[in-house]
Symmetry: C2
Subunit: 212 residues, 2 copies
């Protein structure tokens, strides 16, 4: 939303002198309080200003971008996660590459019995191991994968924003979505968040189609 | 921004009966026009309603999500693009993989003299070619790359939203940012937009730090 010139002026007055009453703001602008009422209501309703009875208006410290940010931070991982594609530690690097192409994913999660997460293998890991002149059919994924607990994960109840932040900070392409295993030890893989997921969410937001 | 119950009611009345005057809305809600003024101002300023003098209020057809979408559609590619990493058609697949690791990118743009774009080679292309038991040192990138004009590109003046939409629709990880070559024939590569770029923009928006 774009603010009018008068609203910008009000915002600056409150920033400098808040808490300040509506009457005092009106005086400073040489306007009546009635004239200002809609502007003050807009600034309050949209979160730029806070108002406290018998105290006056004060600046919430939030800009339009911060308000947009709050909206984005509400999107939950559980509404965006996709199905995880998994393999076993004993799977050969060759078979892992095949699975990656057949399922058209960039990362495989390596699991044990019961879907317990033990590792992650990325397209980058596989490409690296295919450069050495080894026989890809004989190297097991367990040898080249990143291993727990050195794996960045997220939870279904996390925000998509937190997941995206982890992808960027840790320079990984994908996060397994995990939950405590029923047995009580280890993490079970229940989903997948990738940069594709985030790009899709960005497009949805741009289309105005997201359900928040 | 969240609407109050009364604002939701007004929105519904205008949706059903717009164009409608402020007076008529007030009557329907058993309120005075003065009471409604701030709400109508908020709904108009924030884009939910349009108002035309001597006609009245009508519904703009925009939801809060659409307004957020408009904000996102304003981000330009030129503010987000990163530096392109390039190689030549004659570069060996082996050397291309090395460049990819050294520069830590997922896609190389293949260029001719003068930076003219002739192809794109992705981590996926390189992984595929490394599976056949060929000597990676002897295969040139030109043999395995995607070749112009079958390459999805974008321009510095495009919106990041349009670029993200192309990434998703065409199922690619990266778009070269191009401009008409000075010679008048072909496209010069001037940047790179990837799913990482979009993820980073998403995080920035969530932080409320984007400059729009």
């Amino acid at each position: 939303m774009e603010l009018s010139q008068r609203q910008e002026k009000i915002l600056n007055i409150v920033k400098d002198e808040g808490p300040i009453t509506g009457e005092r703001i009106a005086e400073k602008l040489n306007l009546t309080r009635a004239t200002l009422r809609p502007d003050l209501a807009i600034l309050t309703m949209s979160g730029f200003l806070d108002a406290r009875p018998r105290v006056g208006y004060f600046y919430s410290g939030k800009t339009g971008n911060q308000l947009l940010g709050e909206h984005i931070q509400k999107l939950p991982v559980k509404d965006y996660k996709s199905v995880p594609v998994v393999c076993r530690e004993e799977t050969s690097v060759y078979d892992a590459i095949c699975t990656m192409f057949l399922e058209d994913v960039g990362t495989l999660y390596v699991v044990q019995e019961g879907g317990l997460l033990v590792g992650v293998v990325s397209r980058k890991d596989l490409l690296k191991s295919s450069m050495g002149n080894q026989d890809l059919q004989t190297i097991p994924v367990g040898v080249i994968m990143s291993r727990m607990p050195n794996i960045v994960t997220c939870r279904a109840e996390d925000s998509l924003f937190d997941a995206a932040t982890k992808l960027i900070r840790n320079q990984v392409d994908s996060l397994p979505v995990v939950r405590e295993a029923e047995s009580g030890t280890g993490m079970e893989v229940v989903g997948r968040i990738t940069k594709t997921t985030i790009t899709r969410a960005f497009v949805e937001l741009g289309e105005g189609a997201s359900n928040v």
